[in-house]
């Protein structure tokens, strides 16, 4: 709290100026020390004790109760300096010293303990490990300073994220000393700030964690497995406290964190006071462990080998090779791997960064988008191009170049590396492995790959789900794996890379693989597919995306409830991406998620339909061809088909589907654009292709949220809007229409009054069936409009 600092500064100034006989001034100083003590509330930290002691000393001076007043005054000056050190400069207690006259016991005299663990609290923890439960940890936001707290919360979250990452690095044995210091600093910073801001629950958890980590960096305990678990738990609790703080801040309330932190506090305090009870566990980075994991040698052989070691200095690797237990090549490889993973992954020069409000960044990028539109409206304006002199053309070209550069920079500014998301995944895998008892190694490639900010948050969920799938269903437990001849530790590989204007995320496991027959049987059983239906391997694999599908025999709290993969696919498709599965029974499975590089810009094919312009996303386009009447065959009441190199392709006449006017001379001079959505291919009949454009997508807004066939609008170079066709929506719409026609004809042909013979045109193509429905549709809409 800045008030505390100010108070201490004031006391310091007063103490310097005061005259030993100036009783009123001394009284004032006495009051100030008491006020200082009051601001610390129930806190029994060193600062609080010192404040009280100083107040008492001043009182004694006033009451003439000290042998040497001058000495007492000097002592007070020293004390205030020490207090400044602690509160203003955030020093450690062992770095400051209080004069003996203050008689500070407990905290001041045990330099290995940090401020807020006075004797009485640790006594309460004591041998039984019970926490002092008369203590309540509350944080109040009623008069809180919004910006200060918001900044604190943001920064604390960053510190927690980096502490978490380093904790995981710690576990893989990388650079122990640096990491543990860095983690310690993170908690220490959070603790300091929490102290100022009077966020007691956060303060006390951060403090106990810091103490534990301090023991860690001194070597008293080793931060591994069980201890690391506790640290992760502490991070989680702190995260929850941050969330509560955020809520409390916006609702201006008071939050009591006592219950939330009770268990972690007890555990931390217990660990701190019983350091000898946690024996340092074996590092899994050791050569021996790695060799065992590789299956090159067993624990017994290693033990035997160790017994027969030629000399105490001989390393395990050498021993094993000398005794011919492990081929030298394998040991060499393990040593190389060890070296590689121990190499500092950091080391790149820290680039200077600035923090910007995301709102400002978004506005900048939006404005750049509008500049692009305006520029193209000028640069492609017919009037200008007609009259353009050489100089004008050159200048317009220059303008265009700069605008494109700005656009690229704008898009680049929105890019963030996926590292943070991957970190979360790494943590998830770690938790999963510990809970399930399986051994799973997560390998990550391409964590520096960058994606648009809007995407990075949305891919987290699908990725976590797929990783959980891989860990839960894909990788088996160690015995199953050894029986199958695989190493006990399964590998899940997460890979991110750019390819062809898209970004790919592959999740591959070397587990059980997908069993086609089981999948088929399950789908049949659940009634999700019709019996007797022929399916390709890919189609069977894609069954896992159907809602309600899960072949897991056990329902864990993570998987098995059958609500996962279909939601994953829906989410991915909502991002205009796609999911692909490949699997080999017994060897493993790979999920591949493809996403466009940015959600805001679309690569589209501009087409003309019935005099109007539409955009078909290039992503979905397979090919396009000129259509002639003789290519079309009709299937009874179900519509038109063409034969494309042996493949039967249903046709969708967009102009009719959308109720646009007739597109003049429909059987010559038309084009078919073959598009693909999921695993369906159809041919969209348009008038002509106008070109390819990269345009900014604008959402049409909630007014049009209820329809599925237009996914948005793009602003064309002439300032008009080109509607973007949603392929899936159009396919669904045309199927609905066809089903509707079919139903009418079958159910009530008399009512519908439609039959082929009546409605055939001279050139013998069936079309008016849809038109009939179209007219009826219009009538329906007209009636609804009156409502």
């Amino acid at each position: 709290m800045p008030e505390r600092e100010k108070l201490i500064e004031t006391i310091a100034a007063d103490l310097v100026m005061v005259d030993i006989d100036d009783l009123p001034a001394l009284s004032n100083i006495h009051e100030q020390f008491l006020t200082l003590k009051k601001t610390l509330g129930d806190d029994v930290s060193l600062v609080a004790c010192a404040a009280q002691a100083c107040a008492d000393l001043v009182e004694k001076i006033v009451l003439n109760d000290v042998p040497d007043k001058q000495e007492a005054l000097t002592a007070l000056n020293e004390s205030i300096t020490a207090l400044q050190g602690l509160v203003v400069d955030d020093r450690q207690p062992e770095e400051v010293s209080f004069p003996k006259i203050l008689n500070l016991t407990g905290p001041a005299s045990s330099p290995t303990r940090s401020e807020a663990s006075p004797d009485d609290r640790s006594a309460a923890v004591g041998e039984d490990g019970e926490a002092a439960d008369d203590e309540r940890y509350v944080m109040s936001f009623e008069d809180a300073d919004n910006t200060l707290l918001a900044d604190f919360i943001n920064e604390a979250r960053e510190h927690l994220a980096s502490a978490e990452q380093m904790l995981m690095d710690l576990e893989t044995g990388e650079d122990y000393d640096n990491s543990i210091n860095a983690i310690f600093r993170s908690f220490h910073t959070i603790k300091g700030a929490a102290g100022f801001l009077d966020l007691n629950p956060i303060l006390v958890v951060a403090h106990e964690s810091e103490t534990l980590l301090d023991l860690g960096r001194k070597g008293t305990i080793k931060i591994e497995s069980r201890i690391a678990d506790i640290c992760f738990d502490a991070i989680d609790v702190l995260r929850q406290l941050m969330d509560s703080a955020e809520e409390g801040l916006s609702s201006r309330s008071t939050y009591d964190g006592t219950e939330l932190i009770a268990s972690i506090l007890t555990t931390l305090r217990y660990l701190v006071s019983h350091p000898d009870e946690s024996p340092p566990e074996v590092s899994s980075d050791r050569v021996g462990d790695r060799l065992i994991d590789m299956g090159a040698v067993t624990q017994e052989k290693i033990d035997q080998a160790l017994k027969k070691k030629a000399s105490p200095d001989e390393r395990l690797g050498e021993t094993l090779v000398k005794q011919k237990l492990v081929p030298a090549k394998q040991v060499a490889r393990v040593l190389r791997d060890q070296q590689r993973s121990r190499k500092d992954t950091g080391g790149s020069a820290v680039k200077e960064k600035v923090k910007i409000d995301t709102d400002r960044l978004d506005r900048l990028v939006d404005t750049i988008g509008e500049l692009v539109i305006a520029e193209s409206m000028v640069g492609q304006d017919e009037e200008i191009l007609a009259k353009a002199s050489h100089k004008v053309t050159r200048n317009i070209g220059h303008l265009n170049k700069i605008t494109r550069e700005l656009q690229e920079m704008g898009m680049a500014m929105r890019l963030v590396p996926v590292k943070a998301t991957f970190q979360k995944l790494a943590r998830a895998v770690r938790d999963l492995t510990r809970k399930s008892g399986k051994k799973i190694n997560l390998e990550i490639f391409g964590e520096d790959t960058e994606v648009d900010r809007s995407i990075v948050e949305l891919i987290g969920d699908p990725l976590i789900h797929m990783i959980r799938n891989a860990c839960d269903h894909g990788i088996g437990d160690p015995e199953e794996r050894s029986r199958a001849g695989k190493p006990e530790t399964g590998t899940v590989t997460l890979r991110a890379y750019h390819k062809g204007g898209n970004i790919y995320f592959d999740i591959e496991d070397d587990g059980r693989g997908l069993n086609k027959d089981k999948l088929y049987a399950k789908a049949l059983e659940r009634g999700l597919i019709d019996p007797g239906r022929e399916m390709t391997e890919k189609e069977i694999f894609n069954l896992v995306f159907l809602p309600g599908f899960s072949t897991a025999k056990k329902i864990t709290n993570v998987s098995g409830r059958g609500v996962g993969m279909d939601v994953v696919r829906k989410n991915v498709e909502a991002l205009r991406g796609s999911l692909d599965i490949d699997s080999t029974l017994g060897a493993g499975t790979r999920f591949s998620m493809k996403l466009p590089l940015t959600l805001a810009i679309i690569d589209g094919m501009l087409v003309e339909i019935a005099g109007e312009r539409y955009i078909i996303p290039t992503l979905s386009v397979v090919e396009s061809l000129l259509l002639t009447g003789d290519m079309i065959s009709t299937v009874n009441e179900r519509g038109e088909i063409i034969n494309l190199r042996g493949e039967l392709l249903p046709l969708i006449r967009i102009n009719r589907l959308f109720g646009l006017k007739h597109d003049g001379n429909e059987d010559t001079d038309t084009t078919v654009v073959v598009v693909e959505e999921g695993n369906r291919k159809v041919g969209l009949v348009i008038k002509r292709l106008l070109g390819q454009r990269q345009t900014v997508i604008k959402s049409l807004g909630p007014t049009f949220a209820g329809q599925k066939w237009i996914s948005g609008g793009a602003i064309l170079s002439n300032g008009q809007i080109g509607l973007i066709i949603d392929i899936g929506g159009v396919i669904a719409l045309s199927e609905d229409l066809r089903d509707e026609i079919y139903r009418r004809q079958v159910v009530s042909p008399a009512v519908a009054g439609v039959s082929d013979s009546e409605n055939k045109d001279e050139d013998d193509t069936v079309h008016t069936v849809e038109e009939e429905v179209e007219i009826e549709g219009r009538q329906i809409r007209a009636t609804e409009a009156k409502v």
């Binding site: 807004g701 909630p702 329809q707 007209a782 609804e784 409009a785």
Partner: protein, 181 residues
């Protein structure tokens, strides 16, 4: 709590005057077919001349389409059609009034097509009357009240209601209506 009849009547009257008082203010008046309407000036963002509207297929007739307003895509509603007056040819006076209505959730910018824009009038509380339960041809949900300025009658529209009610549901029900026949 029981109130005497007199008290009840006074209470109701006060409520009424309160609500009509709340409706007093400046209104932008405009013409649709033969009648004059008004909408709260505070909700009007701008007025633009008629421009090319890109129709969105398979949407209700009163949803004319979308326009490009300096880079922003906003929908345009034809009020005549919405109120069942039948559409008319665009004239020189036809305009699009861009309003900011309280849609589902946050406020939404939408354009409404009007035959002509008249003027901004300051309408006092005593010039506003409740809309009669029937007879105006426009759904009473959409009317804030009837403003009497000199000899003219202006129908004051609750533009939030006009633009938010029904459009979403109508669009969604297109699919079901066609499927159900």
């Amino acid at each position: 709590m029981s109130m005497t009849i007199a008290e009840k009547v006074t209470a109701e009257a006060t409520v009424e005057t309160k609500t009509t008082a709340a409706k007093a203010g400046k209104y932008l008046t405009f013409r649709l077919a033969a009648e004059e309407y008004g909408l709260e000036i505070l909700k009007v963002r701008e007025i633009i001349g008629m421009m090319e509207i890109t129709g969105v297929p398979k949407t209700p007739d009163h949803v004319r389409g979308v326009i490009n307003l300096r880079g922003k895509v906003i929908p345009v509603i034809d009020l005549r059609t919405k109120f069942g007056m039948g559409s008319a040819e665009n004239t020189d006076e036809t305009c699009i009034v861009v309003v900011e209505a309280a849609g589902q959730g946050d406020s939404l910018m939408m354009g409404v097509l009007v035959d002509a824009v008249s003027e901004v009038l300051d309408i006092q509380a005593d010039q506003i009357e409740e809309a009669p339960a029937f007879g105006t041809g426009v759904d009473t949900r959409f009317i804030l009240g009837i403003g009497k300025v000199q000899q003219d009658v202006k129908l004051l529209l609750d533009i939030d209601e006009v633009l938010s009610s029904g459009d979403q549901q109508v669009l969604e029900s297109i699919g079901t209506a066609e499927a159900a026949g």
